[in-house]
């Protein structure tokens, strides 16, 4: 891509009225606790043909900005002055009816998750065509023809067939293409993208980004690109605005913001973006010692029921699928082993097998002792292998206090004498950088990052030899992600525990892991030392994954 060209165009366009101009706009929400400010004095301008990124973490107000522009605010929203102009027109004064003619035609929107933003009971074709019928006054037949063409432009190979499908019959990437095709269908002036790739797999996300770039160049549309991922945004936008607690703290060209961040918060954000070149992990033990070895592990899901076997024997064989097949890998003492792969690749299945949560075929070897099935796993093994789950909300029992939760492994495995449990819980909390007083709280009183620390503390309370981290950072904000990753490394350094780190974030894993295993469709396709990540003999899939990841560091802005 050429940033120079787009910025030149942007300059040319700025002589006209900007596609979007937000001026001193403020917004609050009325709650039981009084008015809570969501946006304060926002100034944001998008020139014709320009793409501006709006970057912030959850709760920063970036979504409120999108709703304000779309004039789609909840009843308790209170606008407190300012202006929002679309091609010079003040849309704050528009009636709902007038806004309805603007939405979807002049200002369409692309949402985060295509599987929830498409109506599950309406065929994809109708969902595109209805917009064309509504805004361009086409007949049904014309609209379907146009929809087919629009889909074809998004690179879908059999658009006519796709029109007949329901959302659940299409893949995530296909669905997002449908949404994008709908957005571009009415020759819009400004498209609002709300984290359009977050819910997609790495490779699909990459394709969608490329599609976006191509269509933008073809149509010269203006766009507001909302994201929490500074690294990703920097690849597709001309200018970036960083929003924090309802205030835009930084606004400038991508280059400027990355090279010379003015606000502390921006610097913090940039620092939190994983940089594969910056190693933060612990030193691997000099002499590699195998802790656990998995040989030819396989997991088969969803066998046929008894009734099916009786009444439909011919179909029974087709039921179910392999969650993992013939996976062999070893985990060494003290190391951090990364497992990457897209969703459904089988990486979590392996985690469940190791944690003794899943029946499996093949063998599991610990210290030379062979375990042939899940039932043979004993409590001693379970103490040595602990697991931390992806969603901290779900992994802590909402009806137990933090102290009870962390204290449980201490009691169960009798790590410390009963009367010292309380003291030890305090120590563990401090170890994960939480105040000891949190022991008296319930999970819902903690933030997401804090909850994940509690889960980690619980895992380390057992003084394990292996901690399985199943996407532990995926549900967290960028800055919190970095902190949790650092915490893990610190704990590993302090305790010498090995770690199996499962993630889809390649940049992050390259910062942490000694060795990396790549999984796809339940099969281990690649297994290599981190230093060999870019080696030529890497599996093509690994290469594709590595290429798909946006790499953005302070040194690689352009």
């Amino acid at each position: 891509m050429s940033a120079a060209l787009t910025s030149a165009e942007a300059k040319a366009a700025s002589k006209e009225k900007p596609a979007l101009a937000v001026h001193k706009y403020s917004l609050s929400y009325r709650t039981e606790a009084g008015l809570i400010a969501a946006l304060r004095n926002i100034d944001l301008t998008i020139a014709k043909g320009e793409t501006v990124g709006l970057v912030g973490e959850s709760g920063s107000g970036k979504s409120s900005m999108a709703w304000s522009i779309m004039r789609y605010l909840p009843p308790n929203a209170v606008e407190q002055g300012g202006a929002i102009r679309l091609a010079g027109e003040e849309i704050l004064d528009y009636t709902p009816h007038e806004m309805a003619t603007i939405r979807g035609s002049r200002v369409p929107m692309v949402f985060q998750d295509p599987s929830t933003s498409l109506n599950p009971t309406i065929r994809l074709g109708e969902q595109i065509a209805e917009v064309l019928i509504r805004h361009r006054g086409l007949t049904k037949a014309e609209a379907y023809a146009e929809a087919e063409a629009a889909l074809a432009r998004t690179g879908i190979t059999h658009p006519k067939e796709m029109l007949q499908r329901y959302p659940h019959e299409a893949s995530g990437g296909e669905k997002q293409r449908v949404v994008i095709a709908t957005a571009f269908a009415c020759e819009p002036e400004l498209i609002i993208f709300d984290e359009p790739t977050t819910a997609l797999d790495i490779l699909t996300a990459r394709q969608i980004l490329d599609l976006f770039t191509r269509l933008r160049e073809e149509t010269n549309v203006s766009a507001l690109y909302i994201s929490h991922d500074l690294g990703l945004v920097s690849r597709v936008v001309d200018r970036v605005a960083v929003i924090h607690k309802g205030v835009i703290v930084e606004n400038g060209s991508v280059d400027e913001v990355f090279r010379h961040p003015k606000a502390d918060y921006t610097r913090q954000l940039i620092g939190a973006v994983p940089d594969p070149e910056r190693w933060i992990g612990v030193e691997a033990p000099a002499v590699p010692q195998t802790l656990i070895r998995l040989t030819n592990a396989g997991v088969h899901y969803g066998g046929p029921s008894l009734l099916q076997r009786i009444f439909q024997p011919e179909e029974a064989g087709k039921v179910g699928f392999w969650g993992a097949r013939n996976v062999s890998l070893d985990i060494r003492k003290g190391e951090l082993l990364g497992v990457v792969g897209e969703s459904g690749s089988g990486k979590s299945t392996i985690a469940k097998v190791l944690a003794g949560l899943q029946d499996f075929e093949g063998t599991l070897e610990v210290d030379g002792r062979t375990i042939g099935s899940r039932k043979a796993i004993d409590r001693a093994y379970r103490r040595r292998v602990q697991i931390v789950f992806q969603h901290p909300d779900a992994s802590l029992n909402p009806r137990q206090k933090i102290g009870t939760i962390i204290g449980r492994p201490l009691k169960l495995y009798q790590i410390v004498p009963r009367r010292q449990v309380k003291i030890r819980v305090g120590q563990l909390l401090e170890m994960v950088r939480l105040p000891a007083a949190y022991a008296k709280r319930y999970p819902h009183q903690l933030s997401g990052g804090e909850k994940q620390r509690v889960a980690i503390a619980r895992a380390f309370a057992a003084e394990p030899e292996l901690v399985i981290c199943d996407e532990v950072t995926a549900a967290l904000d960028v800055s919190v992600q970095a902190a949790v990753a650092e915490l893990l490394v610190k704990l590993q350094r302090d305790t010498g525990t090995a770690c199996l780190f499962i993630t889809h974030d390649l940049n992050l894993i390259r910062q942490l892991a000694h060795r990396i295993a790549v999984m796809r469709h339940g099969v281990l396709v690649d297994f290599f030392d981190r230093r060999d990540a870019r080696a030529d003999d890497r599996n093509p899939y690994t290469k594709a994954l590595l290429d798909a990841v946006p790499v953005q560091s302070s040194s690689a802005a352009a």
């Binding site: 944690a355 004993d378 992994s395 802590l396 029992n397 449980r408 169960l412």
Partner: protein, 272 residues
């Protein structure tokens, strides 16, 4: 609690429930007359200073009868539901936790029992047992059991796959600990909500059985029976039908609204 009471339906439900429970606990103590005492000179009267809610065909004081009938009526709803809920939950939890053939056998039998509508099921059982309050209570309990078992099972199933339960399994916790400490406390709220709402059904079914002559029997002051006995006289004194009828509605409404409000308050989707 403050948030729970923020919705108007919760306030109304709680108020009605407190009223009804108060009557159930203290009604017989504060009744101004003996509920069975005849006042032959004051038959079928409307509300007056001496009989606040009027009198029935034997000149018995309606207020006293309503108050003394409250324990029977409410206890019927509460006890029959409790028995149904406890037994049903036990079955449901066993099915949900054990899975496999135990689960599917239990579920098939439950499906069979669920195919018979509640009132019909209750009627069949009452006919077998031979009518009367205790038998009606038992019948409602039995009729509720399959439904509650199914709800308990699905609650357990939904909790069973939560990560904190998996974490406990991965830790090597005993089955008893997992069910008792991790699964049950979290599966309880849908069961409690359902139970609360079912109390109102139970009260209504109990009243209906009383009406059909298969539940409470004279001279009981159960409200459904009061309606049924007074229907003959409704043109002469509408109060003697209206008062017990409204009392049933009040009790049912109270439990219903309270249960719904409880559901809203306990629903994780609404608590954030």
């Amino acid at each position: 609690m403050r948030r729970f009471l923020s919705s108007p339906s919760a306030v109304v439900g709680t108020t009605l429930l407190v009223l009804v429970l108060f009557a159930a606990l203290f009604g017989p103590l504060i009744a101004p007359y003996d509920p069975q005492e005849f006042h032959p000179l004051a038959r079928l009267q409307g509300p007056s200073a001496s009989y606040w809610l009027g009198t029935d065909q034997f000149g018995r004081d309606l207020l006293s009868r309503i108050l003394s009938g409250a324990p029977a009526t409410i206890a019927f709803g509460v006890f029959s539901t409790t028995i149904g809920v406890v037994v049903g939950s036990l079955i449901g939890v066993i099915a949900g936790v054990s899975s496999g053939w135990v689960d599917s056998t239990i579920m098939r039998i439950l499906d069979g029992l669920l195919a018979v509508p509640d009132l019909l099921f209750t009627l069949l059982i009452v006919t077998v047992l031979g009518g009367g309050m205790e038998h009606a209570l038992l019948a409602v309990a039995v009729a509720f059991t399959p439904g509650m078992a199914r709800i308990a099972r699905s609650a357990v199933l939904s909790v069973r796959t939560r990560d904190y339960v998996r974490a406990a399994v991965a830790r090597g916790e005993s089955g008893l600990y997992i069910v008792g400490r991790e699964v049950l406390p979290n599966a309880l709220s849908p069961i409690v909500v359902e139970a609360t709402i079912r109390v109102s059904f139970a009260i209504m079914i109990g009243a209906t059985l009383g009406f059909l002559g298969l539940g409470a029997q004279p001279p009981s002051t159960e409200w459904g029976l009061m309606v049924s006995e007074a229907r003959q006289f409704m043109f002469r004194n509408p109060w003697c039908v209206a008062i017990p009828g409204l009392s049933i509605a009040t009790a049912a409404l109270g439990f219903n609204l309270f249960g719904d409000a409880l559901r809203d308050a306990l629903d994780p989707r609404r608590s954030h």
